[in-house]
């Protein structure tokens, strides 16, 4: 299977697109009504100062139906997933989870995934882990691997073909 299966869906799959749209409008209905824009989320947001993420605005935009604009925006990818907004929201809106949903929707509708996510996903597909075992440099500039350190062989999927089969079934599932 290829990476394309998991991360993008071609234009012709209107059924899936409709499903995504339905889910997005459900997201809009479920979440946004409870938010009264107190901006407690933004005041504690780890990504606010450096990257101008304003979770309360994300929720407000969602409420106004500007969903396409948001799945197209780079700002949804600035969240550090610290979960402070979810923890502190007096209305239990959880902007971080809304952002996860928006990012998932962006990926599912074939938008470009930023940074190394694609490489990480590819690595999971080919070996089960986000990266392969590394030889690590010590503070006196020697490189050491697991065997030299007496560590057991790394645990990873035994039958890769079967593991990939599980993931490929997931790929055709909707989010």
């Amino acid at each position: 299977m290829s990476i394309v299966d998991l991360t993008s869906m071609s234009e012709s799959q209107t059924a899936i697109k409709n499903e995504i749209n339905q889910r997005l409008s459900k997201l809009k209905d479920e979440v946004s009504d409870y938010c009264y824009q107190c901006a407690k989320c933004t005041s504690g947001c780890e990504a606010h100062k450096l990257l101008e993420l304003e979770p309360h605005k994300i929720i407000a935009l969602l409420k106004r139906g500007l969903i396409d604009e948001m799945t197209n925006s780079e700002v949804i990818w600035t969240c550090m997933s610290c979960f402070k907004c979810r923890e502190r929201c007096p209305q239990k809106v959880a902007p971080v989870e809304v952002l996860f949903a928006l990012k998932n929707m962006a990926v599912a509708s074939g938008k470009q995934i930023p940074g190394n996510y694609t490489a990480m996903l590819q690595s999971i597909l080919t070996m089960g882990l986000i990266q392969d075992v590394k030889s690590v440099t010590t503070n006196d500039n020697k490189t050491k691997n697991r065997t030299e350190l007496g560590l057991p062989e790394i645990s990873k999927p035994i039958d890769l073909a079967k593991f990939q089969m599980v993931l490929s079934k997931l790929a055709v599932e909707k989010i």
Binding site: W77, K84, A101, N116, M120
Partner: protein, 288 residues
Amino acid sequence: MKKYALYPGCVIPTEQYAYELSIREILPLLDIKLVDLKGFSCCGEPMKSVNQMLTISLSARNIAIAEAENLDVFAPCPMCHLAMSECKRILDSDEKTKERINSFLADENLKYTGKSKILSILDILYDDEGLKKISGLVKKPLKDVKIAVHYGCHLIRPSEIGRPDNSENPQKIEQILKAIGAKPASYPEKLDCCGGLLTTNLPETALTKTGQKLQAVQQQGFDAFVDVCPWCHRQYDSKQTKAGETVATKLEVPVFYLTQLIGLAFGVKKEKLGLEFNLSPVDKLKID
């Protein structure tokens, strides 16, 4: 003797050897046996932005592997622990999703039932018995070492999912440190995020976050900085020099895994705790 399946995840066994070595060294001293199982994969949490179904399925898959051996799971990486705890919370309360996930797992002859518990590093080290055991084993107390504690976001939030310590005022690591003679002190930036998860798409900003926190710790005159997460440790220790460059400060903060400090206090040799892998100036801290 308690027995757990060790779920190492991705970052610990592929590069953060210091954490793995120190865990394997000190847990047996606390009468805890770790069982290595074959077949684990990523916990799925790093992929949550891409596809949440993938996250839940991968977590369920790993829990199912431990369930097949009738073992509870010890996940030292807080991110893995969060992914697995969230997966458990969803699947244990939603029969339909559980069935759907199990239909995927059937290809590998695995089945999630929900019988195994998921334990974090704090669940393992901290309870009344654990603290007593720890203080009883101390041979070289870290006398008066002033330590800044970093919990890491995933260990304490979201509390709704069930996390091992309080989300706004966590104190368990401080208590463990007191049990080994050290002097943990609070600081305003204690709950700040390391930025590590941004490494995937905004690595420079990630380093700035890291640098800002270490800068504050350095200014406040701490002797050491302690963490329990391989993602955080990679930022604070492995990349400390670079993090310093992004905030235009020469950072010289000794950064340790909690398990390394416990090991040092127990009198375990430096080599066995993987101290050679700490790239921050850990030699500044003299323990004898």
